[in-house]
Symmetry: C2
Subunit: 132 residues, 2 copies
DNA sequence: CTCCTTAATAGTAATAATTATTTTTATTGT
DNA sequence: ACAATAAAAATAATTATTACTATTAAGGAG
């Protein structure tokens, strides 16, 4: 029956991300693998990256859409994993973290702390589904 | 001489972000303002959001390109503000933060902590410039 | 091992997000 | 008011991502 197949492409895409230290974009994975797999298509890379993320083998950083915030005092955010909305968290921003994060030759100036979860609205929807 | 002018559009765009609680995208700002400013163009919104961010009046969250990571154990990242590269930080992930962040009806499951700074490579470039 | 089913690919087209360009408008100093 | 030009509008172009369709190939049944 309809089992998920683990194709050579998916395996290579997964390994490419694992081997990389730069948290690559889809385009970067595509260009790297194309040398050895000339017929690989970018769509395949995108599809597999998302499938792998869905299976929990990869994590996706950042979104594909920029957002803006007028609250300048450094603070933290909550992002809904379901609808994508973003809200301010009430947690205090800990500037001391930046000092701890220093590493190698990096000069750290600030940080952004985003909590992933389910927003009130989406949480209610889930309850309804459960109740049905 | 070439002074920066603070146009009505820029003012309204800035205020729209300030008034919003949702950390809006450019598209969202555009749609909201269009009701009162039918001739406003999306390009103007983008340009002003970036100008405002450059001036330090706004902060830009997320980037326009998705990145992927095969390191599943929750961890923290370093991002270069100049070249955009991303690296793993050596700082431990503090799962306890998620509990502190709970708020309203939010269910918090995880967080992502990204430090902003200058990577070793870009740091060296700056030194060269200073030396010249 | 060969055949069949169908998941997954390649190739391509379409959409969405963002940036660049060109002409027009309007702010500001004189 | 007028000139100089920053910024806007309008539009085109680019980049990022997703959707669609025909073809390929993985994996189980015989």
């Amino acid at each position: 029956m309809g089992e998920r197949r683990f194709s050579r492409q998916r395996e290579r895409i997964y390994q490419a991300v694992r081997a990389s230290q730069v948290h690559p974009t889809a385009q970067m994975v595509y260009e790297e693998l194309r040398a050895q797999m000339p017929r690989l298509s970018l769509g395949t890379v995108y599809r597999n990256l998302h499938l792998l993320a869905e299976e929990g083998l990869l994590v996706e950083l950042d979104g594909p859409v920029a957002r803006f915030d007028a609250q300048l005092r450094p603070h933290t955010h909550l992002r809904c994993m379901r609808c994508g909305c973003v809200a301010d968290a009430e947690m205090a921003y800990d500037g001391g973290l930046d000092i701890q994060a220093a590493r190698d030759g990096w000069q750290v100036e600030s940080h952004s702390l985003i909590f992933n979860g389910i927003c009130p609205a989406c949480g209610k929807e889930s309850e309804h589904l459960k109740g049905a």
